[in-house]
Amino acid sequence: MNDGRERAVGAVLLLGCFLSSTRLVRHVGVYREDVLNFNFLPPPWLTEFRLSLFGDSFWTHGLNYLLGLFCLLGACALLGELRRGPLYVLAFGLGVKAFIYSGDFRLWSGYEYLHLSLGTLYLAAPQTRLAAVRVGLGVVICLSGLNQLVAGEFTPTAIVQLLAPFLWLAPGPLPRVATGTLVMLFVLQGLEAQAEYAMTVVPCLLLTEGVPGRPRGRLFWPALAVVSAAGLLGLGHLQGALVSREPEIRAEIRIRKGDKTWMFEIADSPRSRVKISQAVGDLASNWKRIPVMEPVLEGDAIVFNPAFFKEEPASLQEPYLYEFYAAEVARRLAPDEVQVRFWRDGKLQGSVRR
């Protein structure tokens, strides 16, 4: 490592792992390994494979603990001018994080994509780490802007994110202006809702400003290709920080088995975070809504677990969440009918019927 800036970026990335681990701690459901209880949501193309790898909650939680603690100590070690050890810790942290996160689709977000991408590129270009991170920032921020446009968010924020990285290639003061604009933008977003995104992206932008040279390294270009491909594949799906405005979501779940009917309603908006209610009584006429605090059971089977929907509001925008839920309910409960519908800003987005 040739200067303090490189070490500082390494520390930011290590602390990014720490941020992820503290975020995971709040997701208690992640550690209850029983998928049948609707505690976690495996990604669609990894489901079977991931289920076989997902150890019990004890080890997952232990890994998460090590992830947070060692990454914090690694960042402190970099500040203390220890160099080589923290890099191994960063590699370990990124690996553990990718492993844990592959177990629950709800945890995936723009921030995690940003952090994993920058961390990978940082490690892949040992001689030009700062330049590699700068290129990574350009790609991720650009894709972030593109993602918002694809999601129908035609906002100045999206356009700035899409175009600003290109200005880094321009001569004169333009690159600095572009960086300054992005810093302002992310700080403002951070104050509103996305502090962890800003906590990583802002120091990285500042620390890599004006870095000369091109990234080198045998692993750098393949790593960049993977990062870009992942970003492109995730277009329209990456949640959280990549979408500037949080929509209002409402979902309605109706399950019928014999003479029993369950009806649940999920509502989420930036002003009023996830509210889950159940309709009780005679659903045809005289019924009322009550809040759902705990899992709803039919015998030993869990019909509905509010934590499944509540732990990550951004995931409520994902049709896959409802598809997975409906499929699991159908498999477990063998009901006569399962119907799930969800609306985004009042517009019906999807309907699953089994």
């Binding site: 800036r5 603990y65 603690l69 104050l191």
Partner: protein, 452 residues
């Protein structure tokens, strides 16, 4: 010129020339993130910020009403996010210089301190320690010496607070299903571990002053092992603060810790702070009664896990022909994983009119009676094992509810059980709160709080 004087006053050069202090500065700065992140995300802060509307915040006795009552929840959360970002930028700043980050440390200290002392629900031992370490770091010269002394004092206080049957007889952990993770579940092993922790905390710091190097390193290894393991029991916040601090203070420590001892005029504030910590940590010992039940004097010093509790609370408000009964029942806590406990808190509200039950509801938020929020169950449901048993929580609620609902009569009854023991302790039994009109004295025995 002014900058140079400020640099000299804060002894910035000392940090610049010692990597250990630089790392310590960075880790203390970053720990602000841990606090503000938790506060910003938790229900408490949102509720507290809107407390005057929801009857939900629990102002602490020396800053009432809290200064942030005039802030909107959005502003408060934005402020916390700003402090989050500043904590990270401060850490990064430490790679390049120390003066700026030191000033930032002072600024963040004040923000955290003002919020912290404003709301009973925010009080946590880790934050006590963090604020103490930060203040010591800010005011000291010969920082390495005073930080080590502060660490030693805090360990001793942590040992002192555990001198109760809950720890000495291992009753607390023996009563929790699963006991200590990763070690044998026999009662005697758990009891021995509890006693060893107390011994380590009381005697360990004294070893740092020994001229025997092996003893100093043995003490260090014990504390590091303890902190690594403590994360398994209490979660992230404690090891995240302590491990960087301990490692920095022991790094390259090849001489006894009395090295750097000084006693000049400039060091008086540091000694005063140490004395204040020692005094604060013993307040609960001077007040008669069992602090595990009464909670009196507890928050002036270390107040870590002191007991496992089950709590039953009943309040009855009468106004005209309207009678409102509120019941809170807290179960014993159960560990579900490393550092994660669950408990069940059942809050039920009943309204009677003319002697007839008009409505009964299980509460999951504010309980509205005639358009007035008289109770917010979230505060009680989210309270940790210590807060839920503290009579102060119920006293504050009673004060608030009298101010918004104006009942003719309010009666309170709080019953606690400790450490799996079936014995019920009646801590509060006040038939008429307004008539008694109790006042909370933080530094002395309150006659209306019992420890029977």
């Amino acid at each position: 010129m002014a900058v140079a004087r400020l640099r000299a006053l804060l002894a910035v050069e000392e940090i610049e020339h010692d990597l250990r202090l630089r790392v310590l500065l960075g880790s203390l700065l970053f720990y602000f993130h841990v606090s503000f992140r938790l506060w910003g995300d938790s229900h408490f802060m949102t509720l507290s910020a809107a407390g005057r509307y929801l009857c939900s915040s629990v102002p602490w006795w020396f800053l009432d009403p809290p200064f942030f009552w005039s802030f909107s929840p959005e502003f408060t959360r934005g402020l916390f996010h700003a402090c989050d970002i500043l904590a990270m930028l401060g850490f990064v700043w430490c790679f390049f210089q120390c003066f700026g980050p030191l000033l930032l440390l002072g600024a963040l200290f004040w923000v955290k301190f003002l919020f912290y002392i404003s709301d009973f629900m925010l009080l946590a031992n880790y934050d006590h320690m963090h604020l103490f370490f930060v203040l010591m770091f800010l005011i000291s010269r010969s920082r390495l010496f005073f930080m080590r002394a502060g660490l030693g004092v805090w360990y001793i206080l942590s040992g002192l607070v555990k001198l109760t049957p809950s720890w000495l007889q291992g009753a607390y952990f023996n009563s929790i299903p699963g006991k200590f993770p990763l070690i044998p579940k026999d009662d005697w092993v758990v009891t021995a571990m509890c006693q060893l922790v107390i011994l380590m905390e009381l005697v360990g710091p004294l070893c740092w002053f020994s001229r025997y190097r092996w003893l100093r390193w043995f003490s260090l290894a014990s504390f590091i092992g303890f902190h690594l393991y403590s994360g398994v029991v209490v979660g992230f916040r404690y090891p995240n603060l302590m491990l960087p601090v301990v490692l920095c203070l022991f790094w390259k420590a090849d001489k006894p810790f009395s090295e750097g001892f000084r006693c000049g005029l400039r060091d008086v504030p540091s000694y005063l702070l140490l004395a204040l910590a020692l005094w604060g940590g013993t307040v609960s010992w001077w007040i008669p009664g069992d602090a595990r039940l009464t909670g009196e004097g507890r928050y002036f010093g270390a107040f870590m896990y002191d007991a496992e509790r089950r709590v039953q609370f009943e309040a009855e408000l009468t106004r005209g022909d309207e009678r409102v009964v509120i019941n809170v029942e807290r179960s014993w806590q159960e560990p579900i994983n490393f550092g994660t406990f669950v408990w069940k808190t059942k809050c039920v509200g009943r309204i009677y009119r003319g002697g007839q039950l008009e409505s009964e509801q299980r509460l999951a938020g504010p309980f509205m009676v005639n358009g007035v929020a008289i109770f917010n169950s979230l505060v009680f449901q989210k309270s940790n094992a210590r807060q839920i048993g503290d009579p102060y929580l119920y006293y504050r609620w009673a004060k608030q509810v009298c101010g918004v609902y104006f009942p003719d009569r309010l009666s309170l009854k709080l019953i606690q059980q400790l450490d799996g023991d079936p014995t019920e302790h009646v801590v509060l039994d006040i038939p008429d709160f307004q008539e008694l009109n109790p006042t909370y004295h933080p530094l002395q025995r309150n006659s209306w709080i019992h420890d029977e």
